[in-house]
């Protein structure tokens, strides 16, 4: 529908100019703008123009609703803040009054005018131009209905750490099927590696394994471990996911989990994953005794049979003949309605910080290595000892902020290291009675019971030195330093450089996104920040959603956080998914591009431009088609089509050109063409 070219409009347009307190009114003369609209745009269809202190308030919205009913408005323009904030507010207000929501247009005279200019006269004139643009445009709008798509009740959860486990259990407990895909042979994630967890000093395995068992036995959860997602197609409610189940070389229907294969396997390998490089496993292994599922896997790269053709001891000794060297990878295609990404984190590679000596100096350990030392099921059966495997340290230095808050490595705070360092201090004191030093810049103990834990650690006698450690060295200089590791630091509260000899150093290394986070993000059609954390829809108000409908994020994949926050996010993501599933269908914004097949020449220029894979080409008819559910309305194809065959529902060429006419003040009553251009 378009305004008639003889200048007599078809529509009845209501204009509302918001003061936004002093945000807009402090710079722009809002009364003048409203009055101007009434005077100068009346011939373009404006029948009423109001200004009001806070249009978004209930009273402000009621103004619009009343006018729609009493004045028979057919279009509404609100000149206020950015649509990001209140577009839904005003559209819903219109809908309540019986006007189609897409006949309401928002013009930003705050972010685009009053907040960016100091010249009041110029800003006011600009606001008028913006408003005129909105009025012209909205006359070109057509009523639209949202796209309704059904929601498949199954959910895909990627990542079997505590975040994924939490999300999976909540959705499964609500009665819906879940596929939980985990890359490692067992679920559990990093939490399974820890010894005790702060602030309660619960044993990590004790609180985690019951959940793991629930996942493993839940009738609604299909557990796919030793598996990876390789392809994702579709859109919210209707994803088609391809999962590669890597060959375990074990027949899981026959395997009893007895462990004889692991015992007898002659090939010992350093376990870089679960034991953090501090312990060993075999070529056929389960990562830890409480693994879920219990089935081992054979590590192809280290198996003597696969590499050299000999051995096969496991096969010979397996009582149920469950070893199958011929097994192949299996590919599954799953239909799901929603996806939760809970892929977790990696720790920073401490070898990059040469001055701390990790990798050169034997008794410098990372936090993960320390967790394994401390863990009763770890390589030293829980004895906190030096790298020789035997000696108990008499003095230990724990360094905070290793590779965090550092522009040379990661310029963010890793959130958990202060509490983790306090935890280590506590455990070392408890187990060894050693003298413990903690070296920090700040003590960040922000959540419930955290600061109380800090008090407890102080009571136990750990010595705190405020200073960021400059270097860890074995180059002895002063008496008492021979044979020790020396921590050189400025004790900033005293104002002196100190050299403190210790036996063992523990580095609280920073958390980093998974090494392959960029690839994973691309696979699922979402974005990562520059350092690799998955980007949430809104950092404060929507931390578990992403910009892609139907794909949610939970846990450290979104950013470093502790276990309580991770669990909360897992639950939040589950709640969002359940909301979708319960509604059975979801309404998508009808802001979509579509191809006029009569104009499409089959040139295919648009085909490769779509970031959302929404475009398909029909060879038989030589035309392009856009999938409305996948299309996000970005407009790239609309602009690219040389024939003008593609138009967008809320950004058609007519609408955009009309808005330009308004911006240039060409249609304003009394304006000469040359005067048209605003400041």
């Amino acid at each position: 529908m378009s305004a008639q070219t003889n200048g007599q409009p078809h529509e009845r347009i209501g204009v509302y100019v918001c003061h936004c307190g002093s945000n807009i009114a402090g710079v722009i003369d809002v009364e003048e703008v409203a009055q101007w609209a009434a005077d100068k745009l009346g011939h373009r269809g404006v029948v009423i123009a109001r200004d009001y202190k806070f249009m978004c308030s209930s009273l402000g919205q009621e103004l619009i609703e009343r006018d729609i009913v009493e004045l028979g408005l057919t279009r509404v323009v609100v000149a206020a803040c950015s649509p990001h904030l209140h577009e839904q507010t005003f559209r819903t207000a219109c809908a309540r009054a019986g006007l189609n929501r897409y006949l309401c247009e928002l013009v930003s005279i705050r972010e685009h005018a009053s907040w960016v200019h100091t010249d009041k006269r110029a800003a006011t004139e600009k606001a008028k131009a913006l408003l005129a643009g909105g009025v012209e445009r909205v006359a070109q709008h057509a009523p639209l209905e949202p796209l309704r798509v059904p929601i498949h009740p199954a959910t895909l959860v990627v990542g079997g750490g505590i975040a994924g486990i939490q999300a999976a259990l909540e959705i499964a407990d609500a009665g819906y099927p879940v596929y939980l895909v985990e890359r490692e042979p067992s679920i559990g994630g990093h939490m399974a590696q820890f010894d005790k967890t702060f602030p309660t000093m619960d044993c990590a395995a004790c609180i985690l394994t019951p959940r793991m068992v629930s996942v493993g036995t839940h009738p609604n959860i299909t557990l796919l471990t030793w598996s990876e997602v390789t392809d994702v197609k579709g859109y919210v409610g209707n994803f088609t996911v391809t999962v590669r189940r890597k060959a375990r070389y074990i027949k899981t229907d026959l395997c009893t989990g007895c462990g004889i294969c692991q015992d007898k396997c002659p090939k010992k390998v350093i376990d870089d994953v679960f034991e953090a490089g501090l312990g060993y496993r075999k070529a056929v292994y389960t990562p830890f005794p409480q693994a879920v599922p219990k089935y081992p896997v054979i590590d192809y790269d280290n198996c003597i049979y696969f590499q050299k053709g000999t051995c096969r001891a496991c096969e010979k000794l397996c009582p149920t003949e469950a070893i199958d060297f011929e097994q192949q990878d299996e590919y599954l295609t799953l239909d799901v309605g929603n996806i939760v990404l809970a892929t977790g984190f990696d720790v920073m590679d401490a070898r990059r910080i040469a001055q701390y000596g990790y990798g050169r100096l034997a008794n410098v350990f990372t936090s993960l290595e320390f967790e394994r030392l401390s863990n009763a099921a770890g390589p030293t059966n829980g004895r906190i000892v030096l790298r020789d495997g035997v000696t108990t340290p008499q003095t230990v230095g724990i360094i905070h902020c290793v590779g965090s808050r550092d522009r040379n490595f990661n310029n963010y705070c890793s959130a958990i290291c202060c509490m983790q360092s306090l935890k280590f201090a506590h455990l070392i004191k408890e187990r060894t009675g050693a003298t413990v030093y903690n070296f920090y810049i700040d003590i960040r103990t922000t959540a419930k019971a955290y600061d109380e834990f800090y008090q407890h650690v102080l009571e136990e006698g750990t010595i705190f030195v405020r200073g960021r450690v400059a270097e860890v060295t074995d180059a002895a200089r002063l008496p008492g330093e021979e044979g020790k590791l020396i921590i050189q630091v400025e004790d900033t509260l005293v104002g002196r450089q100190r050299r403190i000899p210790v036996d063992m150093v523990v580095l609280s290394v920073g958390l980093e996104p998974r090494r392959d986070s960029q690839e994973v993000a691309k696979l699922f059609g979402i974005s990562c920040s520059a350092n690799g954390w998955i980007i949430e829809k809104h950092p404060k108000l929507d931390p578990v959603a992403t910009m892609t409908e139907g794909v949610f994020v939970a846990g450290c994949a979104q950013g470093p956080k502790d276990i309580p926050s991770t669990v909360a996010q897992g639950a939040a993501a589950a709640a969002r998914v359940l909301a979708h599933i319960q509604q059975k269908e979801i309404a998508l914004e009808p802001i979509r591009a579509s191809v006029d097949e009569t104009k499409c020449s089959g040139c295919r220029i648009c085909n490769n431009l779509c970031p959302f894979n929404a475009i398909t080409f029909h060879e038989d008819r030589m035309v392009t088609e856009i999938n409305p559910a996948l299309c996000q309305g970005c407009g790239t194809c609309v602009a690219a089509c040389p024939a003008g065959a593609i138009s967008g529902t809320v950004f058609s060429n007519d609408q955009v050109l009309a808005q330009l006419e308004g911006l240039l003040l060409r249609t304003v009553k009394g304006m000469q063409l040359e005067e048209g251009v605003p400041a």
Binding site: L278, R351, Q355, G359, D474, A475, R477
Partner: protein
């Protein structure tokens, strides 16, 4: 033959004459052609910039401008002294980053009829060129007398490694270029933790006890690891560790006898050149006892002394079995 412009710096003329001599001796053998920057002036060391700001950059600017006039095929200015290298590279870097500074410096240079467009030349250290341009394969192919049995402590000093600007070519805390070069010559390289700790620079002229301590730490560190000699690449470092070693011994009542030589001297020895061609014999702490280990002739009395020193050295400790160590990137380096 790769050709480079050469900025020798004041030290190489006299106090570090052995460095210059050894560079001259080996350069043809490794295919390094050098053309001196004509009429170069002092880079200012760490002194000029303590008094003046703009003039310090103009001082270096003259050298850069002169080099730029000589650019003919090669754009690289090579310095062998770390302080000269740092000053030239730093000034060029600042001029490139700060247009106002560049304008002011060029105003000053204009008073002398000179001009320098920032970035015209690229400043690099001799070690960088030897290891990365000439390459270790070429070096190895020239070795006729491998330095087998010689334990060397590679001492880089601070200014070659830091600060890290756009022209980083090795790790700022733990560089390995000279380690790899020494290994290519067949020497045994100790993992010297003090390899980039500062020798103190001009501290010897300011506060002797402080200077002595800075020097002692380095010698002690190398001694702890039972090095036969310290290999260096900066004239200031060589002077401090060598010329003041006797004073350090007196002050701390120690008995270090650790010779300090330039890496080019060891390169020359490995190539089979004679010690006096390489400026050996001009060091305060005589290097010949250590070098006897690779067949350098010694008078009998000194030879016996050298044997005794070897015998005194404890056997290398085997790493205790226990928990696995993390694997480091250069664990599988050539020559190891």
């Amino acid at each position: 033959m790769p050709k480079y412009l050469f900025y020798p710096g004041c030290s190489l003329q006299r106090s570090a004459r052995p460095y210059q001599d050894s560079i001259n001796a080996v350069k043809e053998l490794i295919g390094l052609e050098l053309e001196d920057v004509r009429d170069w002036n002092c880079c200012g060391a760490t002194e000029y910039v303590a008094i003046h700001h703009l003039a310090a950059h103009a001082l270096v600017g003259r050298n850069l401008a002169l080099a730029a006039q000589q650019v003919d095929g090669t754009r690289t200015v090579m310095a062998a002294c770390s302080a000269c290298y740092l000053n030239l590279a730093k000034t060029d870097s600042y001029l490139r980053a700060d247009a106002d500074l560049a304008e002011q410096v060029n105003t000053a240079l204009a008073a002398g009829g000179l001009h320098y467009t920032p970035g015209t030349v690229r400043v690099r250290h001799l070690l960088d060129i030897v290891v990365n341009d000439i390459g270790l394969d070429t070096i190895k192919s020239r070795v006729v007398r491998p330095l087998k049995g010689l334990r060397v402590a590679p001492y880089y000093g601070c200014m070659i490694a830091r600060p890290d600007r756009d022209n980083r070519w090795d790790n700022v805390e733990h560089p390995v270029a000279m380690d790899r070069l020494m290994k290519a010559l067949g020497a045994e390289v100790i993992d010297f933790p003090m390899k980039t700790h500062c020798c103190g620079g001009h501290m010897t002229q300011i506060n002797l006890p402080v200077a002595f301590e800075l020097i002692r730490r380095l010698i002690h560190g190398a001694d702890q690891y039972q090095a036969d000699l310290i290999v260096t690449l900066c004239p200031m470092c060589q002077l401090n560790l060598d010329a003041y070693q006797a004073d350090v011994n007196r002050y701390f009542n120690t008995d270090y006898r650790l010779p300090v030589v330039y890496f080019t001297q060891l390169v020359g020895l490995a190539f089979g050149l004679e010690p006096d061609r390489l400026g050996l014999g001009k060091e305060f702490v005589d290097a010949r006892p250590a070098l006897s280990r690779i067949g350098i002739e010694l008078p009998p009395a000194e030879a016996a002394e050298a044997e005794a020193a070897v015998a005194r050295r404890a056997r290398k400790q085997k790493a205790p079995a226990g928990l696995p160590m993390p694997r480091m990137p250069n664990d599988h380096e050539e020559g190891q």
